[in-house]
């Protein structure tokens, strides 16, 4: 007996983002450190900053996540970077390293 069945799987939205250009070197760059306020994510990105500071010259860091200062994105576990904030971050830093607890 032959049974005809229909696929339950949905078509997906056609949406593509090309990778951003990579950096030649981290020397002299400003790196964004994003943690989403889950436990220990801040420690992870701070450790990355220590390593980068040891290896590269004139590197600066800007922290994102849990920033309570007025006008800053209050990024957290439940509040992720939106397009506008990403555009703002791109004007402030040259790259972002992010960590979640998971």
């Amino acid at each position: 007996m032959k049974v005809q069945v229909m696929s339950p799987a949905a078509d997906r939205m056609d949406f593509k983002v090309p990778p951003a250009p990579r950096l030649q070197s981290l020397n002299g760059k400003t790196i964004g450190l994003y943690n989403n306020m889950t436990g220990g994510a801040d420690i992870a990105v701070d450790r990355v900053a220590e390593h980068i500071s040891e290896r590269y010259t004139d590197v600066k860091f800007e922290r994102y996540g849990g920033d309570l200062r007025s006008g800053r994105p209050i990024l957290s576990r439940g509040v992720h970077i939106d397009d506008d904030e990403a555009a703002q971050i791109a004007t402030e830093v040259d790259a972002v390293i992010g960590a979640t607890a998971h």
């Binding site: 005809q4 069945v5 799987a9 949406f15 450790r47 990355v48 939106d82 791109a90 960590a99 998971h102």
Partner: protein, 460 residues
């Protein structure tokens, strides 16, 4: 991280190894399968600082490489998928054991089920299911994340047939998916959280009887009497898997999962409840049919053989609801927000809502004491409290340049009082009292996690 790449600068993420497949699934859906990420052996929550640093140390080369080299990642199931809409397949069946199971095997090979046997979705059965709605088969009800799948009425019907739904139950399922489509349901976070949670479908109004939903004894359990409850709940799960691409271990990274994720659908026992139905609380007419979808974890069964008063009953309920570190008082940091679509647009909403499934017997104790549902909610709101000092010690609240709290400034005067407590939730309505099941001395408490939304049901 994809949002950052989209803005034109490189990004690299650090995630626990058990979330690697989930991460890949997410970035696939976000349209950039080569987004760089490195994994560490364990989640960082609760770990000692040195342990976290050691995990990072081992991955530092790859972290730096992520910013300087484009990753080459195989994208087997790319963001556009390979499935044409309602593609038709032919499966050979015969009376042998494997022959009878051929359709299930075919679906399992494609990861198209919840692991349980399904009803074959034949074109005829889909046509029949579509008789349960006036909506057009190609109508897109929502875009379901994390896979950004197009939830057409037809695709929902296919999954409904697979779950064992009947056409008279289809409008309830459609309304549940309408709820998911509302930003306030925050369905993305429900789908992709490592936390364990599941959608609970609450039904009010005449559609419950028409759909055959059991409102009595054992209504959330197994049994033929619960066929409609089970099928509707299961159909929603199949949609989340097959339309939202929330598949175990990839789109769905729940650390252990929950049996409730197979499906939960109940209706209020409006004939027995002493209080007005929940949908009337929301402002709908009494004779309207309404579905509410709320994301929950649990439940906790609350036994109460000792209460002799309304206050005793509520006190017993309250004793089981909150525990340290469960997020009580989070409203001082602003409302929860759902983020929608590829722009990640943020939509604030009030939450969480904690459903309390009250046996009619428990509600009657309160009603007999002259307590309305709202009175009971206010009682819970006033008596379920958390220490402000402990809350602030965990994490500060947003303040303006002068140190004033941005949210709930009226409570800031309590800041200097080490013994001050505040309500666990922002408002009484967040204790969602829903009366159903057999009439005895129990209640079930579900801890609300993410969003909630309600939608009137199309009556056909």
């Amino acid at each position: 991280m994809v949002a950052v790449e989209k803005a034109g600068i490189p990004a690299v993420g650090i995630a626990a190894r058990s979330f690697a497949r989930a991460w890949q699934s997410c970035v696939d859906g976000w349209g950039q399968p080569t987004t760089a990420f490195v994994t560490i052996p364990h989640a960082t929550t609760g770990q000692q600082a040195d342990f976290i640093r050691n995990m990072v140390d081992e991955q530092i080369e790859d972290i730096i490489r992520g910013l300087t080299e484009v990753q080459i990642t195989a994208n087997v199931n790319g963001p556009n998928g390979t499935n044409k809409s309602s593609e038709l397949f032919t499966v050979e069946m015969d009376p042998s054991q494997s022959g009878l199971n051929a359709v299930n095997h075919f679906f399992a090979e494609r990861d198209w089920s919840d692991g349980m046997p399904i009803i074959p979705p034949t074109p005829e059965s889909i046509e029949n299911m579509l008789k349960g709605t006036k909506r057009q088969p190609n109508e897109v009800v929502m875009v379901m994340e994390p896979g950004f799948g197009l939830a057409t009425v037809e695709k929902i019907a296919i999954n409904a047939v697979m779950a064992g739904c009947q056409p008279e139950q289809f409008s309830v399922l459609l309304a549940a998916i309408d709820c998911l489509g509302q930003p306030e349901s925050n369905h993305r976070d429900m789908q992709v959280s490592g936390h364990t949670e599941a959608p609970l479908i609450l039904v009010n109004g005449p559609v419950a009887k028409k759909a055959g939903i059991n409102v009595g004894t054992a209504a959330m359990g197994p049994g033929v009497v619960n066929t409609a409850n089970t099928a509707i709940g299961r159909a929603l799960r199949l949609c989340l898997i097959n339309i939202g691409y929330c598949k175990a271990g990839t789109g769905d990274p729940n650390f252990i999962g929950l049996p409730t994720k197979f499906g939960m659908c109940i209706a209020e026992n409006e004939e027995v409840s002493p209080w007005q139905p929940y949908h009337v609380d929301l402002g709908f007419d009494n004779d309207e049919s309404v579905v509410t979808l709320v994301t929950v974890t649990g439940p906790t069964d609350i036994i109460d053989s000792g209460s002799r008063s309304a206050e005793d009953t509520l006190s017993n309920l309250a004793s089981m609801m909150f525990y340290p570190n469960a997020g009580s008082g989070g409203y001082l940091r602003g409302r929860q927000s759902a983020q929608v679509g590829h722009t990640n647009k943020r939509v604030p909403y009030q939450g969480p809502y904690h459903p309390i499934i009250l046996s009619p017997s428990r509600a009657v104790i309160m009603a007999e004491a002259g307590m309305s549902k709202h009175d009971a909610q206010v009682w819970l709101h006033e008596h379920c409290r958390t220490s402000l000092k402990e809350l602030l010690a965990k994490r500060d609240v947003p303040r303006d340049a002068d140190g004033r709290w941005i949210y709930h400034q009226e409570m800031q005067r309590l800041e200097e009082d080490p013994n001050a407590t505040i309500p666990c939730l922002e408002s009484p309505e967040q204790y969602l009292l829903f009366v159903t099941g057999g009439s005895t001395h129990y209640a079930n408490f579900f801890y609300g996690t993410y969003g909630i939304a309600s939608q009137s049901v199309e009556m056909t």
